[in-house]
């Protein structure tokens, strides 16, 4: 009897232990707060722009070292920032260090956007299966390809041979091989040919769905840039001709304002990175780190406005070049002077007396003070303190960063023609003179290639390293060997970042 009772009890307790199995169903619950892509509803056609907007977000959210590293090596600009980020200054002097964090940071930041463009295209294609407006999907894909082309273009100009991924999975690069720079440029040109017919035929600032987004003319501009690198001058002329004749672009009359708030979504811009404080003195803010380019020390017109880091010093060579040309508009817009810098120029007997307008106070009323790290600061990256939204103090807040503008299109056009290409749309003289007119310079006749290159130097300095890549392409190494530097062909490309060399077999033995 007792035994039986114990047995019954025992069985019951074992049952309780096992009974808890009913809770096992919970083991299959999905994780909280995660949107699995497999759960995305691709039948909602209105959402098809989300992956594209995500790509624009990546494109705008640019790491601050990217543009500086791409553009520092020209004779228009010096690293500045003396005593800080020494290896950035060494890069300016063509002493490269593949261990330097900036090389890797730029490589990764640009490639992250490249892969985002692939995943955006893959996602848009999934929406396309259900949408009635397949053409819109095609347009979005063409936009993604255009942004990707810009990214690859810059990567290849810096590093030469690079990877062209095949899909959105970076791990495929482990078995990929490098594509030579020439092939990258050809790839870009071909991609743009695919994209051009699918893109909106208007200026970026005319778009109402995504104002400032890429259009047919952005793609044409990138095609022109890629062919310029390949010295396919006729293709450059053809692409620029299309932009000139049909694009409806015009030069902003006020060159100074082009690089200020007034330049946002200007009719001169073919591609720009957009930022905004949304007109509010606090809260959400999307901004590029313009402080990098700004003067380290100023007395702003609006007290409390923050200054910069003192990098990005216009070169003495550039300033004297501009003074020699009696430039005022472009020199004033491109260079912020300090008293120390002015004194340094005047030490040269040829420049003992400078034009009276040159001073350490900008026309907007900000006074640039002396600082040890540089003598000049970049004017194109400068936003006057009185253009800041009240409440904001970070240097350059609410300013956009222009990537391609119509002046460069005109000058590329002229360059192609002076290299033997032909165009029925516009002559080299007309193209150059349109740019010169805005700068308040007298027209030229019978422009030579050399004059065009000078015009590019004057017009595009400090922006995207156009000067450096032009001089490399034309083999004018003596121009780059300035102020104690010596440039040679083997210094054209930066070494691959050590971090990537350690990871990617294709890069090993390539440095």
């Amino acid at each position: 009897m007792k035994k039986l009772k114990y047995s019954i009890q025992l069985i019951l307790y074992i049952a309780v232990i096992m009974f808890a199995t009913s809770c096992e169903d919970n083991l299959n619950d999905p994780a909280e707060n995660k949107s699995f892509t497999e759960g995305t509803d691709y039948t909602i056609s209105e959402d098809m722009d989300l992956p594209l907007l995500g790509l624009y977000a990546g494109f705008n959210d640019k790491g601050w070292p990217n543009n500086p590293l791409m553009a520092v090596r020209g004779d228009d600009v010096n690293a500045g920032g003396l005593g800080d980020q020494q290896d950035f200054a060494e890069t300016d002097k063509f002493n490269y260090n593949k261990d330097f964090w900036m090389y890797n940071a730029v490589w990764e930041d640009e490639y992250a956007d490249v892969f985002t463009s692939y995943s955006a295209i893959e996602q848009i294609q999934l929406y396309q299966e259900f949408t009635s407006n397949k053409a819109l999907g095609d347009q979005y894909i063409a936009e993604a390809k255009t942004i990707r082309a810009w990214l690859l273009f810059n990567l290849s100009r810096v590093w030469g041979g690079i990877f062209i991924p095949e899909n959105s999975d970076p791990s495929n690069l482990l078995v990929a091989s490098l594509t030579s720079k020439a092939d990258v440029m050809q790839f870009i040109s071909d991609q743009m040919d695919e994209a051009i017919p699918l893109l909106p035929d208007m200026r970026p600032n005319e778009r109402t769905d995504i104002p400032g987004g890429v259009t047919k003319y952005t793609a044409l501009a990138i095609k022109a840039l890629a062919n310029l690198e390949m010295e396919n001058y006729q293709k450059v002329a053809d692409a620029t001709s299309q932009i000139i004749s049909n694009g409806g672009f015009s030069l902003e009359p006020d060159f100074y304002e082009l690089f200020k708030i007034g330049g946002k979504l200007n009719s001169e811009n073919l591609l720009e990175m957009q930022y905004s404080d949304f007109g509010m003195g606090a809260g959400d803010n999307k901004s590029y780190l313009f402080a990098f380019f700004g003067p380290q020390g100023w007395t702003p017109k609006v007290t409390g406005a923050g200054d910069g880091w003192g990098f990005w010093e216009p070169s003495m060579k550039y300033i004297k070049f501009m003074l020699d040309r009696n430039e005022t508009v472009r020199l004033e817009t491109s260079v912020l002077f300090t008293d120390r810098g002015i004194a340094e120029i005047e030490k040269d007997p040829n420049y003992a007396t400078l034009p009276s307008w040159i001073s350490n106070t900008t026309r907007s009323g900000d006074q640039i003070n002396d600082y040890a790290r540089a003598m000049f600061a970049s004017g194109k990256h400068y936003l006057p303190s009185d253009e800041l939204t009240p409440g904001r103090t970070d240097y350059g807040t609410n300013k956009n960063f222009t990537c391609i503008r119509y002046a460069e299109i005109l000058l590329m056009h002229a360059e192609a023609l002076t290299q033997g290409a032909s165009s029925s749309v516009m002559s080299a003289d007309d193209a150059v003179n349109e740019v010169r007119a805005r700068a308040g310079l007298a027209p030229l006749t019978g422009v030579t290639n050399e004059q065009v290159m000078d015009e590019k130097f004057a017009e595009l300095a400090m922006e995207w390293g156009t000067r450096f890549y032009d001089m490399v392409r034309l083999g004018k190494y003596d121009e780059l060997s300035y102020e104690g530097r010596t440039f040679s062909a083997d210094l054209t490309y930066l070494p691959y970042p050590q971090n990537q060399v350690d990871l990617l077999p294709a890069l090993q033995g390539n440095n």
Binding site: E24, A31, N33, F36, T37, Q86, Y118, P170, S171, A282
Partner: protein, 1004 residues
């Protein structure tokens, strides 16, 4: 609900009691001196019928019959069994057990006799824990357990880093912490426990001991038992407390103004020289050396303060025949040595009650509520103090626009940053209200007395953390200002419930003794978080630090998150011995988890032991009291590995399009299918007690392999990393613990102990990859097959180029334009170049050898104890020195400034000031990687006991007064002020202060 109902029925079902009326047995139990023993368990063998002696040592047993055998058992005494026969009164004297062989130890879901263990478990008791004045109980274990590494944390309220037998899981994500089991409830850390409330801490070191905890156990398990009352014990009120001060130790000497000026001028940088000039213009010239600015700030000295620490615990415990209880409250407060609002305060309440409802039914409950407030330090200030130049004062009267305080601004001298750490200290505040509740309730049914029992336990541990980070506005310069006041509020709750059901069967069949346990456990873990930020609220008083009071609430800064995970486990254990001579042990656990794609894992263990001293051939060897050989193997899991995405995921991102904030999505293509890590460990050991229990010895050798370690694999080209189960990591080592106790006379006794442990950490396999990189690109740490995990990886410095002849003779120097004073690296592969092919392993941050000694002396009423410990074989990356490769702006430590190269023959170790600034020649090398060995006097305590005396006729309760010096001395070579750096990379480590306290313990 159904479950609860079933349980209730079962409960009622088992309340039926068998009663038989027989005679009564009484008596007194005494110790060898004749003093009564309170709390001795007296029971009739083979039944649950039993009692406990009262304060006079008297017991009374009902319902006994002549054939019954009475068992008298008491911890620390040899258990005795007597046949009753016709006796009505049995008075008995128990003998002290020097060997402690009857000692029991908590193992998972039960207790076992220490002598029957086949695995490696070390237990530390309350008396030893209380010697360390710390808010963190685990801190007290430093140096006490062979094979356990405790890396101290200096900040108040921070938990130390605990590593049991090395590291088997890739560090840095919090998944290398052991599992803490507090009275049966699982915790990730035990920062909420008051040390004085803890009875024992048992470290389950090997897999065999830990395997009963299955998928949670791979990093080792720490079992904590809080104090309980004892039956038939009169209420005892105990006060335990201390008060003391913390003082920073081994403060790193930085270059002073003169040394710094010399370095700056030697750097060859015109900018640096101009900053010195600016400082002289602004602050004047030193009267001692007119070429040095008249400022000499020792920033470390300025940002530190002496800080108090105190703890007060009050507890009551006791019990009668049916009930035992322990109640307590405690208050702990510690200031941080960083001069800001940096402190930790904890107020605890606890109660633990066990009630014997009938012969068969025991119920009990346990509750601990901890209410803590922590003001976390701005750890970045340590880093700022290292870099801030000594030629900058704290305050600057010339900085007239500064508000609210005229702090000095290094930008006024030309430096990039403001440098002054005081705005960080004074205008930032990080407050956390941490409330933790442990609650459980159990019912235990003795189905067959002394044999079969069933216990069901429901546990709930609940944590709520309310964080409030306030940033107040200030203006020190245009580029050293904070315009917007901001308050970040973050509310987190963790609610973890478990329901355990355990069936235990204990029996003997002749010489065969067996304990069998089977059980199930259901877990439900939930986490919720909500955070938002408010900008610009009234900042005059704390009462308006609300988002509701803010002018702006940025939508981008509003986030919430949640987590819900379920677990279901079945487990069992068999512990068998034959004549206590041959031991066999096995457990099995099946764990189900909702966290991974793989739902179920199985974690078995087996162990065997041979008590050689029970064999006839050793019976006559007098010096050997007890000798056991043991071996075990077990498998464990680690489910702290994050849940994998398992699939492509989509994130929402925002950007500005035409001055409008728009949202888009990005889809990540990098995902992994993760599963828990599996660890297998083999342990062989020896336990011995020699020379009449005076010498005890424990030795163990272990080999622990993490089979599918989850390692961060860098994503090529894109950066970041993705976690993949791609490695095999092995930890192996030898541990030895020796203790000697002896009584020289009635008044004088002493003990000496030592423990040592070795550790070899090795990556055994990376699934085809030669290595996996970690750390920063410039300061590479690499996991290579055959080397320790995350070994420092770089070049070897051969010396410093001394003269031009040496430069001319070296093609490497010529090619790179090096000059005397620059570092010279070793060409490892002799290819005439020094490049990344010349990188080698420079060491690991795991100590290969740890040792500790302790000494205890007792003379009459005086007690003295001392602990010393140390470690060798580990390296520290002096990352602070590395900052110079990017910027000249900061200060340097005095050792570097004094011993820099500044002319032929001045140094072959440190480069010149100019050489230090050549980022491209300052590669990761053994110049940055330093020896992390240290030796420390961990704890010294002197105590005096007042034992039941009367002073002038007034009774004096039992009182103990103690003086403690904790960590008064640390000796090391490393150029930092703290050799305890958990991950080996020293950027900003909170200093570990010495603590001096006076303590009082009174038992009323």
């Amino acid at each position: 609900m159904r479950l609860l109902f079933t349980n209730l029925i079962l409960l009622l079902f088992s309340l039926s009691v068998f009663a038989q009326n027989k005679s009564v047995l009484t008596g007194t139990v005494t110790d060898p001196t004749g003093a009564p023993l309170t709390g001795v368990t007296v029971f009739i063998k083979g039944t649950t019928s039993g009692t406990i002696t009262d304060i006079k040592g008297i017991y009374s047993l009902n319902n006994v019959s002549t054939e019954n055998v009475v068992v008298y058992s008491f911890m620390g005494y040899i258990t005795q069994e007597l046949q009753i026969n016709d006796q009505k009164i049995i008075n008995i004297q128990l003998e002290e057990d020097n060997l402690n062989l009857d000692e029991v130890v908590v193992v998972g879901y039960g207790k076992l006799h220490v002598k029957d263990l086949t695995s490696s478990i070390t237990t530390v008791k309350s008396e030893d824990l209380l010697k360390t004045p710390s808010g963190q109980a685990m801190q007290a274990l430093q140096g006490k357990v062979a094979g356990l590494q405790v890396v101290s944390a200096g900040a108040p309220g921070e938990s130390p880093t605990i590593r049991i037998r090395g590291i088997g899981s890739y560090p840095g994500r919090g998944n290398e912490n052991p599992l803490y089991v507090v009275d049966g409830v699982f915790f990730d850390n035990i920062d909420f426990l008051n040390t004085a409330d803890i009875a024992t801490i048992s470290v389950l070191k090997d897999a065999s001991a830990a395997a009963i905890y299955g998928v949670r156990a791979a990093n080792g398990v720490v079992l904590i038992e809080t104090k309980s009352g004892k039956p038939n014990q009169k209420a005892q009120i105990t006060y335990d407390g201390y008060y003391g001060y913390q003082v920073a130790q081994n403060v790193l000497k930085m270059a002073n103004a003169e040394q710094y000026t010399t370095m700056a001028l030697e750097s060859g940088s015109a900018a640096d020289a101009s900053f010195i000039l600016n400082a002289m213009q602004r602050y004047g010239r030193s009267r001692v050396n007119p070429n040095v600015p008249n400022v000499n700030t020792d920033w470390y000295d300025e940002i530190m303060r002496p800080a108090s620490i105190q703890n007060h615990s009050l507890s009551v415990s006791g019990g009668n025949d049916n009930t035992s209880y322990s109640l307590g409250t405690s208050y702990f407060a510690q200031e941080g040595i960083l001069d800001m609002k940096n402190e930790y305060e904890r107020f605890n309440l606890r109660s633990k009650i066990d009630y014997k409802a009938s012969n068969k039914v025991t119920v009990g409950g346990n509750m601990i509520f901890s209410n803590a407030t922590k003001y976390a330090p701005e750890s970045g200030a340590w880093n700022q103090a290292y870099f801030a130049v000594p030629i900058l004062p704290i305050y600057d009267d010339l900085n007239v626009n500064a508000t609210p305080t005229n702090y000095a601004n290094a930008q006024d001298l030309g430096y990039r940053g403001g440098q002054n750490p005081f705005p960080t200290l004074k205008f930032n505040e990080n407050k956390q209200k941490i409330r933790k509740l442990l609650a459980n309730f159990y019912v235990k049914l003795d189905l067959i007395p002394q044999k079969l029992s069933f216990k069901t336990t429901y546990n709930h541990n609940f944590t709520s953390i309310d964080q409030r980070n306030v940033r107040l506005p200030y203006f020190i310069g245009n580029d050293f200002q904070r315009v917007d006041a901001s308050v970040v509020k973050r509310a987190e709750t963790y609610s973890n419930q478990t329901w355990d059901n355990i069936l235990t069967y204990t029996d003997s069949f002749g010489d065969h003794n067996v304990v069998i346990m089977a059980g199930s456990s259901y877990r439900d873990q939930a986490f919720n978080m909500l955070t938002a930020t408010g900008l610009n609220f009234p900042t005059d008083q704390e009462q308006t630090y609300y988002i509701e009071q803010s002018e702006t609430v940025p939508s981008e800064d509003v986030h919430d998150d949640g987590l819900r995970q379920y677990g279901m486990s079945y487990f069992g254990r068999v512990s068998y011995n034959y004549k206590s001579k041959y031991l066999l042990y096995g457990t099995m656990r099946a764990d189900g988890s909702s966290k991974y794609q793989q739902k179920w894992g199985y974690f078995p263990t087996v162990g065997a032991g041979w008590v050689i001293s029970e064999e006839n051939f050793l019976k006559d060897v007098n010096i050997i009291d007890f000798l056991k050989l043991r071996a075990s193997w077990g498998r464990l899991g680690n489910d702290k590995i994050q849940a994998s995405d398992g699939a492509i995921t989509t994130q929402v991102v925002t950007t500005a399009i035409n001055d409008v904030l728009v949202s888009g999505t990005t889809t990540s293509s990098t995902f992994s299918s993760l599963k828990w890590e599996v660890t297998e460990e083999t342990n062989v050991g020896l336990t011995a007690k020699l020379l009449n229990g005076r010498l005890s010895l424990d030795a163990d050798y272990f080999l622990r392999d993490t089979k599918n370690a989850a390692i961060n694999v860098s994503i090529p080209s894109v950066g970041g990393s993705v976690l993949k189960n791609v490695g095999v990591i092995r930890n192996s080592g030898f541990e030895l613990a020796l203790n000697w106790n002896d009584n020289i006379s009635k008044d004088f006794s002493y003990s000496i102990g030592a423990n040592i442990s070795t550790l070899k950490n090795e990556v055994r396999n990376l699934f085809g990859q030669p290595h996996i990189d970690g750390g920063q690109a410039e300061f590479r740490q690499r996991s290579i097959v055959g080397e320790p995990l995350l070994a420092f990886y770089g070049r070897e410095v051969v010396g410093v180029y001394q003269n031009d002849a040496e430069i001319q003779a070296d093609p490497v120097a010529l090619e790179n334009g090096l000059v005397p004073g620059d570092l010279k690296y070793k060409d490892q592969n002799n290819d005439g170049k020094v490049d990344d092919d010349d990188r080698v392993v420079l060491g690991s941050y795991f100590p290969t050898f740890m040792y500790a000694f302790n000494l205890g002396l007792t003379y009459k009423n005086w007690e003295f104890s001392a602990n010393m410990l140390g470690q060798t074989g580990n390296k520290i990356l002096n990352r602070k020195r590395g900052e110079l490769i990017w910027t000249n702006d900061g200060n340097l430590d005095a050792d570097l400034a004094t011993n820099r190269w500044h002319g032929e023959g001045t140094s072959n170790k440190y480069p010149s000031s100019a050489g230090l600034r050549k980022g491209w020649n300052q590669k990761m090398s053994d110049y940055f990687v330093e020896d992390g060995s240290f030796f420390r006097i961990q704890n010294i305590q002197l105590a005096y006991n007042i034992r039941k005396k009367e002073w002038f006729g007034f009774p004096i309760p039992e009182t103990r007064i103690s003086l403690t010096a904790d960590r008064p001395l640390t000796v090391f070579k490393y150029n930092g002020f703290n050799p305890e750096v958990a991950n080996g990379v020293d950027t900003q480590t909170y200093p570990i202060p010495a603590v001096y306290t006076i303590g009082l313990n009174v038992k009323f």
